[in-house]
């Protein structure tokens, strides 16, 4: 008789959670879980247990890797790999299924990073590489009713300094440039570390209000 109790409990749990192959069979329990996580402040990152990546991997990797961390999403860190190339835009995919698209290293779009950057008009890497002057940015997002809204920013570039850095197997001379952007909706500062060919090796770039900054480092390959 004692064995009946755990079976009963299991049946009850299954019923409460819902099961089946209909599209909506587990939605009630999914909703409760999501709301509880929201209240406890656990939700928002791409995956709750993103694997901690190690820069050392880059030394062994034959393919390029993009190390991404999102401090605002509870310190999310992951290693992205190239999934697609469309002209000068490279799309990098995380193991959890989020992606980031960079035009010569400049953030253009994100998908699956909570509050995504849907599309943008941004300065090019050579423009940033100059390390001075002003640029204009337009960044498009979706609101909660799935309507597009565009935020505009006026940005100014300035060179912070030069330094030699070791990134993976490479020893490179990098120029540190920051881009101070301000607009009616707020302001942010992007930072870039570029080599003499305006290739961006490291950067800290603004994604969105809820996602905050993405810190990115290219390695491997």
């Amino acid at each position: 008789m004692k064995a009946v109790q755990p079976i009963k409990a299991l049946v009850l749990l299954t019923l409460l959670a819902g099961c089946g192959n209909m599209p909506d069979s587990q939605e009630l329990s999914g909703t409760v879980t999501a709301l509880v996580s929201t209240i406890r402040g656990q939700r928002g990152a791409v995956a709750p247990n993103a694997p901690a990546s190690d820069l050392k991997v880059a030394k062994w990797s034959k393919t390029p890797l993009l190390f991404v961390s999102l401090p605002k999403l509870r310190g999310y860190r992951s290693m992205f790999r190239v999934i697609n190339v469309n002209a000068d835009v490279v799309t990098w995919l995380s193991p959890e299924g989020a992606d980031i698209s960079l035009r010569n290293g400049v953030l253009i779009q994100s998908r699956g990073l909570t509050d995504d950057l849907m599309s943008s008009q941004a300065p090019t890497a050579p423009e940033i590489g100059k390390g001075s002057g002003t640029t204009e940015r337009k960044m498009a997002y979706l609101n909660g009713a799935d309507q597009t809204f565009v935020l505009s920013y006026q940005c100014s570039l300035r060179t912070i300094g030069q330094a030699t850095e070791i990134i993976g197997p490479h020893k490179v001379q990098l120029k540190h440039v920051d881009e101070v952007c301000a607009g009616p909706s707020g302001s942010f500062t992007n930072q870039y570390w570029l080599d003499g060919t305006s290739r961006i090796w490291k950067s800290v770039q603004w994604v969105s209000e809820k996602t905050g900054y993405a810190t990115m480092l290219v390695a491997g390959g």
Partner: protein
């Protein structure tokens, strides 16, 4: 209005649980929205102000003082129009038998002037404007901010709000009301009788704390004079409110010199998802073809005649669509065009499904294929043909405002005629779909017990016999609840088509909610058809047939439905009762600009009564919908009973708005102040318009932002 009989809310499902939990999450309406009064309307403490809530926001509030409890739902219908539905409990109304009196009321408020420069906001309000005059008041009120932290409100009230400190009668005496069966607008009373001034101030002490004080012109004549619920020692009320963030607040007040009051205020903003955004994996990106010069073999068209190439295309499309949680139905390919029919049971946003299917095609199709024709299929019906150039996808994927630039380049037409596919797949969805899940049903507004519920398990299944033809059923078993403890008997003089619901709740467990065969088709351009037969809903079974005319590019649609149904036995099993009826409705649908939807139905209803229903709703692209309906048929108010005619409000909240997971499920609640038998329609599952319009041009345009999601 005083309504003593109960009414059964339709299935609250997961919604009640969802919204009550959502209330706990401090992530909802916009910060800094004006606070509510104890009546659930925007205002001071017991008085209204001239302010409005942010457009589209739904507020729920609970307030209590001196034996009075009020639960109010308020909706900002338009930026300058708001409405409320309120349920009031008056404890100790009768002193010899200590009983609680329940009352329902509706308000409407119009903002004539919005605060600007030196001008204040000015609002005209009608409180409890349908009904008995018990809670009725009319007012004109002005509110002006003098500093960012301090605002003043001054108003003139009639009815209740003219009952203390009157300055005289401006528009003649207020006639006593003969409300008959209730439910009709008490226009003859409006702005009549004594008028009295009222006013107050609101001081924002800090980001979180707010102080309010007011002079009330409400004498609480009946509550105090006749029912001795409390004593009115003063006209001055004061209180403190604490902001929990995003439109959620708690308040505590000192009222009329003798009483302590509390309020809880929760806001839901359709434009602000509870959990932020829909969290979902990235889409498959667009695969860019090599130029013909760089790779001439990739552009060869010899594959068209090779059967093994088609087999490979089928395998890769099945795989790619599955990755996107879409399903392959069929594929017709020529050297330059691919026509893909697919199912979407994942995304509420139709354009997201179309965008993902298009990108999947770009990965698999040989380079010579330049035109993509995407045909979403629901219940076997191809619902639209979205034609997009592959080179536009390649060029615009990373362009600024990619979705906006793509929109004018895409053509949406009727899915017919379809090309004969070389590839057909059964992988779209399993033939048998089933689920076992908890359910919640609630019964509201019964004076003996205003909230009854039932919690149990629902088993549902659906088996596809052929494309567009399926058999479906669902059954419930109660676990706990008191919904069956309702012994109210119907006093309706019409056939009891709905008012016997307590008998169904008492005897219908387990309940076979439905078991039916349905056949859907899109036989001609613009024409869609449905036939359903079997046990169609809890109270009726029979045969229901429907035809819908909906050109894909039109805001207009028209439909007709003809049903022959028999009333089911109270046991909700296989047996029937003697009552049977032929019902039929002709329907016109119009998608108004600004995301409003109007529907006019006319015909014969379940009790054999003839008339028409008008439904108007406001809808957001994410699936949020709030609306109202009213039905007038050829039964007199006396025959109809309390309420005079059928009317109600409904709320639809997409589950993805609550839980942030991609899904198409919508939770709906219909609130009728009273359930009677006149003007009732068959609750047949899967009416055509709801299915077909998901892919019409109006819907696709309003949802377009997610096409590259």
């Amino acid at each position: 209005m005083l309504l003593k009989t109960p009414r059964l809310a339709s299935r609250l499902g997961a919604l009640l649980l969802g919204t009550s939990l959502a209330g706990l999450a401090p992530v909802v309406a916009k910060a800094g929205s004006p606070s509510l009064n104890l009546w659930g309307a925007t205002g001071l403490i017991d008085l209204p102000s001239a302010e409005m809530q942010p457009d589209g926001v739904l507020n729920t509030s609970y307030a209590r003082f001196g034996g009075i409890a009020r639960v109010t739902l308020s909706y900002q219908i338009l930026p300058r129009i708001s409405g409320s539905f309120r349920y009031t409990a008056l404890n100790g109304w009768n002193s010899t038998f200590p009983t609680t009196y329940f009352d329902r009321s509706f308000d409407l408020r119009f903002q004539i002037l919005k605060e600007h420069g030196y001008l204040p906001s000015l609002t005209l309000g009608l409180q409890d404007f349908i009904g008995t005059d018990l809670l009725s008041a009319e007012y004109l009120v002005a509110t002006k901010s003098v500093t960012p932290h301090l605002k003043f409100t001054l108003g003139l009230g009639w009815g209740r709000l003219g009952s203390h400190g009157s300055i005289g009668t401006l528009f003649g005496a207020r006639p006593s009301i003969n409300f008959g069966q209730g439910g009709t607008a008490s226009t003859k009373q409006w702005f009549r009788g004594p008028a009295a001034p009222f006013g107050g101030l609101e001081w924002q002490i800090s980001d979180r704390w707010r102080f309010k004080a007011e002079y009330s012109s409400d004498a609480y004549k009946l509550e105090i004079g006749q029912h001795h619920m409390f004593t009115r020692g003063s006209s001055i009320n004061a209180g403190l409110e604490y902001d929990l963030g995003k439109g959620n607040r708690i308040g505590i007040y000192e009222l009329y010199g003798t009483k302590l009051g509390v309020s809880l205020q929760f806001a839901l903003d359709p434009q602000e998802r509870v959990v932020g955004t829909i969290i979902d994996g990235a889409p498959i990106p667009v695969k860019v073809r090599p130029t013909q010069a760089a790779d001439p073999t990739a552009w060869s068209t010899s594959w068209v005649s090779q059967p093994q190439q088609l087999g490979a295309l089928k395998t890769s499309m099945e795989y790619l669509l599955k990755l996107q949680r879409l399903g392959l139905v069929s594929l017709a390919v020529t050297a330059d065009t691919a026509q893909l029919a697919f199912t979407n049971t994942t995304y509420h946003n139709s354009t997201e499904a179309i965008g993902r299917a298009a990108r999947a095609l770009s990965q698999a199709m040989p380079a010579s294929v330049e035109t993509f024709e995407l045909i979403p299929v629901t219940d076997g019906m191809p619902l639209a043909k979205v034609t997009v150039k592959r080179s536009d996808l390649e060029r615009l994927e990373f362009a600024p405002d990619a979705a906006g630039q793509l929109a004018p380049l895409v053509r949406v037409t009727d899915a017919l005629p379809m090309k004969t596919p070389q590839i057909q797949s059964t992988a779209a969805a399993p033939r048998l779909q089933w689920s076992v899940a908890p359910y919640l049903r609630a019964g509201l507004f019964d004076p003996v017990n205003p909230f009854r519920y039932e919690l149990g398990v629902r088993v549902a299944a659906r088996y596809r016999l052929a494309p567009g033809l399926f058999i479906a059923g669902s059954a419930t078993k109660r676990a706990i609840g008191d919904l069956n403890n309702n012994n109210r008997t119907s006093n309706s003089v019409l056939p009891h088509v709905r008012t016997d619901y307590p008998l169904y709740d008492q005897h219908g467990d387990p309940a076979l909610e439905n078991l039916y065969v349905a056949w859907y088709d899109h036989p001609l351009r613009n024409i869609y058809t449905r036939v359903s037969a079997g046990y169609l809903e809890r109270m009726f079974g029979g045969i229901s047939s429907e035809v819908l005319w909906q050109p894909v590019g039109s805001r207009f649609a028209a439909g007709a439905e003809l049903d022959y149904v028999r009333q089911r036995d109270y046991s909700i099993g296989f047996a029937f009762r003697p009552y049977h009826v032929v019902t039929g409705l002709v329907s016109l649908y119009y998608q108004l600009p600004g995301n409003f939807l109007a529907q006019l139905d006319a015909g014969r209803y379940l009790a054999g009564d003839k008339g028409a229903t008008l439904t108007v709703s406001r809808e957001f692209a994410n699936g949020w919908r709030v609306g109202a309906f009213a039905t007038k048929t050829n039964v007199s108010a006396a025959q109809f009973g309390e309420g005079s005619f059928d009317k109600g409000l409904f709320f639809t909240i997409p589950l993805n708005w609550l839980n942030g997971a991609p899904s198409q499920t919508l939770a709906s609640v219909i609130i009728r102040p009273i359930q009677r038998d006149g003007g009732q329609t068959l609750d047949v599952p899967g009416r055509l318009y709801g299915i077909v319009r998901a892919y019409n041009q109006g819907t696709l345009s309003s949802q377009w932002g997610r096409v590259f999601r």
